[in-house]
Homo-oligomer: 338 residues x 2
Amino acid sequence: MTATSGPNSRATIEDVALAASVSVATVSRALRGLPNVAESTRVRVEQVASRLNYHAHPNASGLASGRSLNIAIAVPVLNSWYFSEVVAGAEAVLPEAGYSLLVTATSSSAERSEFVRWAAFSGSADGVIMVDLPLDSNDVQLLSRAELAVVTTGFDCPEFPSVVVDNVAVGVLATKHLIDRGHRRIGILTGQSEDPLHFTVPSDRVDGFKRALLESGIDFDPNLECTGNFTTSGGREAMGSLLDLDESPTAVFAMSDEMAFGAIWAAHDRGLTVPGDLAVVGVDDHDMSEMLGLTTVSQQVDQHGVVAARWLTDGLGGATKASESAEMNIELVVRTTT
Amino acid sequence: MTATSGPNSRATIEDVALAASVSVATVSRALRGLPNVAESTRVRVEQVASRLNYHAHPNASGLASGRSLNIAIAVPVLNSWYFSEVVAGAEAVLPEAGYSLLVTATSSSAERSEFVRWAAFSGSADGVIMVDLPLDSNDVQLLSRAELAVVTTGFDCPEFPSVVVDNVAVGVLATKHLIDRGHRRIGILTGQSEDPLHFTVPSDRVDGFKRALLESGIDFDPNLECTGNFTTSGGREAMGSLLDLDESPTAVFAMSDEMAFGAIWAAHDRGLTVPGDLAVVGVDDHDMSEMLGLTTVSQQVDQHGVVAARWLTDGLGGATKASESAEMNIELVVRTTT
DNA sequence: CGACATCATGTAAGCGCTTTCAGGCCACAT
DNA sequence: ATGTGGCCTGAAAGCGCTTACATGATGTCG
């Protein structure tokens, strides 16, 4: 049909220009809504482009303009409820701004650094969202030097805008709730004990836990702290070991709903009732929490992704803001496990 | 440091060439492991490249070579256990082959078509994985014409290699198990009743269900079929309506674990015990299924993503196979809900 | 010892866009 | 008429790579 190509090969801007009897420059301007194009010309070009199924080749336009129209998101793992919510949130808003989402899982510190180098030097993405992957100073340096927009989620990074939650407040809220219910011997299920990534969420929540105890005059008992790795099975094991203690807790603060599920499971394993023998409060408001009646500190996780992505696209659009940080809301949802 | 650029801007192949005292062509060849490069030269180039933090600009190399080194994956939604497993599986193997993953959620038929057009004409990706998104003939045509590798997952597409499960067998397996346990009045929780996408998984599983009943001489009762939309809350509602029937079922086949969770919930709502008053079998082997003791037909979902991705990268690597289809294993995992 | 592969390297022509720069055209004021 | 400015458009120079193709330097063999 067209002068230079059959229907099989992709139409180029030149095909469109030829068919519309204008120059490639005009096609480029018309299709991108740039000013200084006569309305009649624009319409004609758009019609031809659509007829030819023309899509600008991203590599070519990216090379010429220096922009890739990609946003890269890095998460520790993909197949976990929390991270897939964040990714889904980001994915939901990026297309509106014309961006695509490159997804990478970086489970180790080495992989994270490799990702940072790639993001900083390859030009694959115009912006980066780091989810729960604290950056070391080298990472920060590389990312700052690159002409790259960066937003972090789940941890505060002074150098970049961050989407965060007040995790101390999360710990306080959950723990106070248990104390209000009359509990004095309260266990806590944390994330990793030793964290090579220096992820502060667990320690902040522990701090909140301790603060709430302190304010109520309850001594913190280190024996009641146990690591559940943020997983259901980890929570089950951790809770199991707490329940097998001579003086086992009557309530537990699990710092993720998944660990809370494991805690409930461990209680059932031992014939204990929830909340009769063990009260449980989690964090997240996981899809399954309502069904299980789990009391939890809700954070709208997908919104973390949405906010991070918006921040990036807005910044890229021009209004590059200084590094602020957005604090997301939390809310105690009381159900039947407390 | 280098001749043409400070440490802030990305190093180009020319910087490397200059620093290594060779031509850009040699750098290109050396770094990509092409033949006809002296070993000493290759080593030197690699050292310089590494020192300069050089990464080939993907847009530039993509434009020149016609390859993008991206794989695009499209799923109906991202924040669902099933799809995040598939995506995670694909993401896990692509980096090995040098590919990045572009993730898109296309919840409607219009979005799916838009994705197909984009994939076929933009050149953003060298390959595409369509997950549970049946293609219409127009989609197939566009994708075939584009020089694009395509793999489908979750449905059989004669034109492209497909990663599938024998869903009739799934239905038979689950239903027979319930019949073997002595149940005669068995309900079924299906996906959407009307599916604009022509997604055959639900109907195949219903077929298996009916076949198993037939083989045991049990009449199929349409009143016992209800739609749960593959979600926990949908399953709860659907199961609720079945349990409120005059002649309610003593067992139910939920065609996803999430709906099965909802079914268990609905039983608890009414003070019924599982499996005493209601036996439940699901499909998937969701992370949470073990904890809830759910009997289920397991399919290694993440492997679907792995197989699809490998197929793509292998094919792209040269050995482009004809459109075969890989049938993934299923297995009944008996736990305490039956 | 000259002819001819063989290997290592360089030269240069694009890949399909964006963007700067330089007109051409027309309306309007002078 | 002449000048002036505002619009619209086209020509052309890259963006940073890959990849024929050309070239020189070796080595091999009759």
